[in-house]
Symmetry: none
DNA sequence: CTAAACCTACCCCAAATGGGGTATTGTTTG
DNA sequence: CAAACAATACCCCATTTGGGGTAGGTTTAG
């Protein structure tokens, strides 16, 4: 039995969600709130497994609410359900601690599936949202430093980024630490910097 | 009609995938490769819509292959299909340009669904992978270091993260560079590290 | 009021890093 | 083939950093 709470200021959508949840044999609605303020006060007492949350609400918005509640009771999982697919909003919600993010135009079936996936430790997202999230990883890829630095130099920079000392890198790669130093000096010249941290900045490893 | 290529060195799994694809009325298998090297050579000529790729292969691995092919033909979408759920591997694949990442223990139905989702601009992921990806966003927020480090220490770490030398930080903050050093030493003790880069790692500034 | 924490700043010394060379060995390429 | 580049490795020396102490002044909490 999955204990669910709903925070949604739009009455029509809230009622629809309530009906949907009540129709499920393996779910139990333990709370429904029309404002984030009210939810923040009450949810710590009713301890739902999952909170379905809108973001755009009068007064406190859903992001702030999730931030507060996630901090108070980390075990609660949040499924954001909103009409907004704005990039900033998506990432703000995820940073706040939401693990699922679906759009309101998803069908009932898809909402139920998302709840179950979230309950089972997954991270349900509408395809469009998922794509946004994934793209965030490949985005800062187009660093041109692959043309500028040699393979070996990149390799050494990567170990440097992990916090290894020159001599540690040297023994990892079976080199003299003087060699590692030489590579680093060449890197500095190419990137026009003068220490490790600056170099890591330039290549986006920092 | 979705044009699909398969890169998979395990013969049994490759054959199974081929059968699965061939059974779909809306998909067309345009290539199957047992090594990444071969795939890198041929795929630019056959131009599939989607490449289903293994990662762990003899010789060139899937990450390198995706990096090369994505660079050559950005329009091709990659669906990584592997037994590995290792965190580094997941993020390496996403950075390389993969948009889907599913585990081999997903059912046939789920693989077909993933292909279609990918073709429609989504980013299909196994629930466990999706959770990893999402967690990456909420991770580097309020770590505990605000409780551990003082305001001044955080301030100095932030300047350190920008690549400034101790003495540069010192003159910025109108301090002796010995004072900056003292703060850094205290930081190192608290974070249990022994140099700047490691410290930046611990607090998520790297 | 006292203790604790924080910020400041100095001492000494060792280790690590940065900056300047040079040199040998391959490999690639015009 | 010669030139250019890459990777390796050594030299010297200055600067920076890390690790150990100590210590005075201020603010905060018990």
């Amino acid at each position: 039995m999955i204990k669910i709470a709903i925070v949604e200021d739009n009455k029509i959508f809230r009622e629809a969600l309530i009906q949907l949840i009540n129709a499920q044999s393996n779910m139990h609605l333990v709370g429904e709130f029309a404002s984030a303020e009210y939810a923040v006060k009450e949810i710590p007492h009713i301890l739902p497994d999952i909170v379905i949350a809108d973001i755009e609400m009068n007064g406190m918005n859903g992001i702030e609410m999730i931030t507060i509640l996630k901090h108070t009771i980390p075990a609660i999982e949040f499924l954001v359900c909103t009409i907004h697919d704005n990039t900033d909003m998506v990432f703000d919600a995820l940073r706040a601690g939401a693990c699922g993010y679906i759009l309101k135009d998803s069908g009932s079936e898809s909402i139920i599936k998302s709840i179950i996936e979230l309950y089972n430790g997954g991270a349900p997202m509408s395809p469009f949202i998922a794509k946004k999230v994934i793209s965030e990883f490949s985005r800062p890829k187009q660093n041109n430093f692959h043309d500028l630095l040699t393979e070996r130099e990149i390799e050494i920079l990567q170990y440097t980024a992990k916090g290894l000392l020159n001599k540690e890198i040297a023994s990892l790669l079976f080199l003299s630490n003087e060699t590692v130093k030489s590579h680093l000096r060449n890197i500095y010249v190419k990137l026009q910097v003068s220490n490790k941290i600056e170099a890591l900045h330039k290549v986006g490893l920092l």
